[in-house]
Symmetry: C2
Subunit: 292 residues, 2 copies
Amino acid sequence: MAELYGGVETGGTWCVCALGHGPGAILAETQFATAKPEPTLAQMLEFFRAHPRPAAIGIGSFGPVDLDPASPTWGYVTATPKPGWRHVSVGQVLGDALGVPIAFDTDVAAAALGEKRWGAGRGAESLCYLTVGTGIGTGLLSRGRPWHGLVHPEGGHMRLPHDRERDPFGGSCPLHGDCWEGLASGGAMAARWGVRPEALELGHPGWALEADYLALGILNLTLVASPERVIVGGGVLGHPALLGMVRERLPGLLGGYLGAPELRSEIDRYLVPPQLGDRAGVLGAIALAQAL
Amino acid sequence: MAELYGGVETGGTWCVCALGHGPGAILAETQFATAKPEPTLAQMLEFFRAHPRPAAIGIGSFGPVDLDPASPTWGYVTATPKPGWRHVSVGQVLGDALGVPIAFDTDVAAAALGEKRWGAGRGAESLCYLTVGTGIGTGLLSRGRPWHGLVHPEGGHMRLPHDRERDPFGGSCPLHGDCWEGLASGGAMAARWGVRPEALELGHPGWALEADYLALGILNLTLVASPERVIVGGGVLGHPALLGMVRERLPGLLGGYLGAPELRSEIDRYLVPPQLGDRAGVLGAIALAQAL
């Protein structure tokens, strides 16, 4: 029997803990609301203490986080706008309390790794995992591994063209106003239209606007990082036609500049939905632990 | 004596060929205007045939280029707007004619590698080389090596906020209009103001606009790719205060979101000028050959 690994996804709303080997081989799993740090971390510890000790635990966390192994605050959530979670240790607390090695990364890097290993990212050495939900997050793999540089990718906060005549909404990001997340996240849609995205009727013009913003942001991701594939997930993509609308727009924005067929006729091989669904994060966290 | 390496930089305006080992150890060098492909390639061959055969030749080319070693058009310039150069073989022609191994990459990836090896990029494993000249080009290193994904980085063509009241100029990019290159390259400045950037007086308001566009583009590069350092070169940076103006603007655009000191008080360690100057490309091409 292969060794057991633990996975933790700490999302802005929910936390998931799991123990196992991968999809179809999860021995135990639990999910609970992300509350204040202390009770949330206590629930994680309770889960792992109630089960056999894994060889390692991977954590995919909402960001921004400190990923520098040489930093005294490695494994911390840093300057998050999430109340109570600024400068909170997650990785070190779990590692110290449980006595197991910890792999710590962003939730989107974990999801990218999970999709590469078991899902829609198989065969791609460079990969972007984009999630459009409450916020917008981007994870990058380079040469098959999560990309870290100075900090980590936070493409959701890039700036895009914003035509204020067509869209007078000022943006919902508390830090940047009309950054990508401020214009196109589920939170932005809810603030602009007064209803949550899942309640916005399918033919509402807000969806064409959303497709335009998603295509612009994915255009910039494509031009800056040139991943082999972009996996587009998150709650906003629950609209059944939205991914197709984005696929229609992207080649026109590129204007024929890059010759790859994946950016033209074969765009449905470039912009793909996740295959692990909302389990990409926790499965990716297990993959992080396995790659330690 | 260490083995000899060849370096070729094929720029939009000039080509440089060199033979040697690195800065301070160049045995022969030549520079000529980039004409039509046939006579230009003939001049490259003439240079290398007149000298001892190198162990390998690195080529840093203007883009877009085909970098896929499995592609029949590896080593080609592809969909460039440069007249006569669309779908032209460079790497294969040189390799076949000279019988030496060829390392082929973009000019900006070569420059990034050269600066990492001998210049302003030393010590950084991930690095962005940004050049703002006739056009805008971006090269990325990941884990010390040029990043290739689906194609290669072409960050100069990303879209940015464009306030048409402040800047009614429609943009100079023949493919995308007001992309970053269309708004902020030297070509865009010349088209907007009617004089070449080096002739625009230092106090002209066009420089504040330029600094705003450069800071916005570097913000997006930082958020998408999170490099450890951005090396900012190219003719437009000849303005003695421009880099400082960009450094002033970037932390404000980030809004305190990412905690790294390099993005705040130590921004002069994050946004840095090249140390190899206009020799980054050809020296980087030699570094490409040495890394083959």
